[in-house]
């Protein structure tokens, strides 16, 4: 008798088999004519400039941190949700305390602007002289 997760595993193995077959078929059928230009990094026809791994906005880190906190909180909520109907009022009170703290943290992050993503303000390049103005 297969366990339920055994069936999931077989499902995944077959799916992986499909992916592998597709990749191998593409490798066998497709042409292989690499050239320098073809293998260069795509940047709309220009040569790439500088390092690829550029610095990005620190907000991504902040979002990741807040995500971790809330994700862990949600993990705590799952077992509660399952037994909620059986446990009744006590479960409700316990989780109310938990949720109040959670929501307080959320409100705090909101009020301190940590959830806010700034609207982009594109700088339109201003020319110090008009191109078509005659300079004669």
């Amino acid at each position: 008798m297969l366990t339920q997760f055994g069936q999931v595993l077989i499902f995944m193995i077959i799916a992986a088999g499909f992916v592998a077959v597709a990749f191998i078929a593409a490798r066998l059928i497709g042409p292989k004519l690499p050239s320098k230009g073809k293998n260069s990094t795509y940047e709309c026809g220009e040569d790439t400039e500088g390092d690829t791994w550029l610095k990005f906005n620190v907000r991504y880190y902040v979002i990741a941190l807040i995500f971790i906190i809330f994700d862990v909180e949600i993990v705590f909520l799952f077992p509660w949700a399952v037994v909620f109907k059986e446990m009744g009022l006590i479960a409700f009170i316990e989780m109310a305390i938990f949720l109040i703290i959670l929501i307080l943290g959320f409100v705090y992050a909101y009020a301190k602007g940590d959830l806010h993503w700034d609207k982009p303000r594109p700088v339109i390049p201003a020319l110090d002289r008009q191109i078509f103005k005659s300079e004669i």
């Binding site: 307080l104 409100v107 705090y108």
Partner: protein
């Protein structure tokens, strides 16, 4: 379920602290600007919590399935933490650095969270709980060290602190996992009884001990793990520095003492008072090395410091060395001496940091050179500072002397006379740099351009006075603290 509710009854002080943190957070969101209201709420919460802690005096109970115990030992430390936090919050109201920072009132509830962590550190008897409590304290202190976001030094201090703290706590939890694997228990009492049955001949136990010391030693900034101390003390705002020096390191001592004197002592001897070290695990020798190294390096390096904060950093490293001497004795008398010393240490260190806040608020500097002739400009503050400096070096008739006296007499009674001598010699060295500060303040004339008188508000003087009184009074009339220490030197399960 039932046990949890019973446990909660003994957990009221901590619950009060948690509620205080939340209320402060909410209040901060409502007032949305720097205001004393949040600090007042915080202090009120601390008082309520302290009142419940006093109610726990004499209770000996294990709560939350043997995670945490309530015993006189933990009650003593909790009171110590709460009192020092109240003072530090008051200091932060006075501090210019905190006032100028971009944050509003976060420091209040961050400090209370640190107190909560410290309380748990003092009362946990489970390695996992110890680690979690230690991390609560550590993470909060990282944030506090980097409190002045705009100051490069402060951010640097926070960064160094984080990296150092992460490394050492990683080492410590690894050692704890090894110990758990060896004994199969997380509870330190159980570990102790298992170890005394098995004997301590396994060389791995020595490695485990050293690795665990790396974690605790970093918290108390004992010597091989002290490198963060000067930089963090220098970068962090002064109230936070004081907080780290007093509460955070006292919490480190609380957990270190409990861990070592429970885990590595024969459990059979715990009840009849004649404590014996488990054969083969000679942890007292490691502690002796650390303690002597801390005293010598702390005191001698402090001599060259011209930054007052760095000087106090090395001074607290040295003070940590003295406190560890009491642990070496590994008996009741040693523990009492540690407690007396900790009370003294708290009072005089708080005083020194407060005097420093008053000075640097006006001078915008903590360089000793800038304090030339300060006694002519603000005599009251300079005299206060003088008293705290004398106390720190252990001059008789101050509270610092009482602490050192009890420590050294405990050593001598256990026939460790040479250790007592090392300690005394170090005290003489320390006298040099403590007096150096006073030399600059009292014996040099102030520079021409800034020699005007400096005045403080009445509240500033009152707070200084409140700290000066016990420093002097308890130096002469030290009966109460000694009795308090003797009563507190009882751990749950340990007589």
């Amino acid at each position: 379920m039932e046990q949890t509710i019973i446990s909660l009854k003994n957990f009221i002080p901590e619950c009060v602290l948690i509620v205080t943190i939340l209320v402060c957070l909410l209040a901060d969101l409502i007032v949305r600007k720097k205001s004393a209201v949040v600090a007042v709420i915080g202090i009120a919460g601390l008082f309520v919590s302290g009142w419940f802690v006093i109610g726990q005096f004499g209770v000996k109970e294990s709560v939350f399935f043997g995670m945490v115990v309530i015993d006189p030992y933990s009650v003593f430390f909790k009171l110590l933490f709460i009192v020092s936090t109240v003072f530090i919050i008051l200091f932060s109201l006075a501090s210019k650095e905190i006032k100028d920072s971009t944050h509003t009132n976060e420091h209040v509830y961050l400090m209370i969270s640190l107190t909560l962590g410290a309380n748990l550190m003092a009362s946990s008897v489970n390695m996992l709980m110890m680690y979690l409590a230690l991390e609560t304290v550590s993470i909060t202190s990282y944030v506090l060290a980097g409190y002045m976001k705009k100051s490069k030094r402060s951010s640097e201090a926070a960064m160094k602190y984080v990296i150092y703290g992460a490394a050492s706590s990683g080492i410590m939890i690894y050692a704890m996992s090894l110990l758990y694997g060896y004994t199969g228990s997380m509870n330190i009492f159980e570990i102790s009884s298992i170890l005394s049955k098995m004997g301590g001949t396994n060389p791995m136990l020595v490695i485990v001990m050293v690795m665990i010391l790396a974690g605790f030693g970093y918290k108390i900034s004992s010597v091989p793990f002290h490198f963060w101390t000067p930089d963090v003390y220098e970068g962090a705002p002064i109230p936070v520095t004081g907080f780290l020096a007093v509460t955070s390191s006292a919490a480190g001592f609380a957990v270190l003492i409990r861990f070592f004197s429970v885990t590595f002592l024969k459990s059979t001897t715990m009840l009849n008072g004649s404590l014996q070290i488990i054969d083969g695990i000679r942890w007292t020798e490691i502690i002796i090395v650390l303690s002597v190294a801390s005293m010598i390096i702390g005191n001698f390096v402090a001599v060259w410091q011209m930054s007052f904060k760095r000087l106090l950093a090395y001074s607290s490293i040295a003070q940590g060395g003295y406190i560890m001497l009491g642990l070496v004795v590994a008996n009741q008398q040693g523990l009492t001496a540690i407690f007396v010393y900790l009370v003294a240490y708290m009072i005089m260190n708080l005083g020194a940091f407060y005097a420093l806040i008053m000075i640097s608020n006006k001078l915008n500097s903590d360089d000793i050179n800038d304090m030339k002739g300060f006694a002519y400009r603000a005599p009251a503050v300079a005299v206060g500072m003088g008293i705290f400096m004398f106390a720190l070096s252990g001059i008789p008739a101050t509270v610092g002397f009482v602490g050192k006296f009890y420590l050294f007499s405990a050593l001598i009674e256990s026939n460790m006379i040479w250790l007592a001598l090392v300690g005394m010699m170090n005290s003489v060295v320390s006298l040099f740099f403590y007096i150096k500060v006073l030399k600059y303040m009292f014996l040099s004339k102030p520079d021409e351009e800034n020699s005007g008188k400096i005045y403080y508000g009445i509240a500033g003087y009152v707070l200084l006075f409140i700290l000066v009184i016990p420093t002097l009074l308890l130096g002469i009339y030290f009966g109460p603290i000694v009795r308090f220490a003797e009563m507190s030197a009882v751990m749950f399960g340990l007589k």
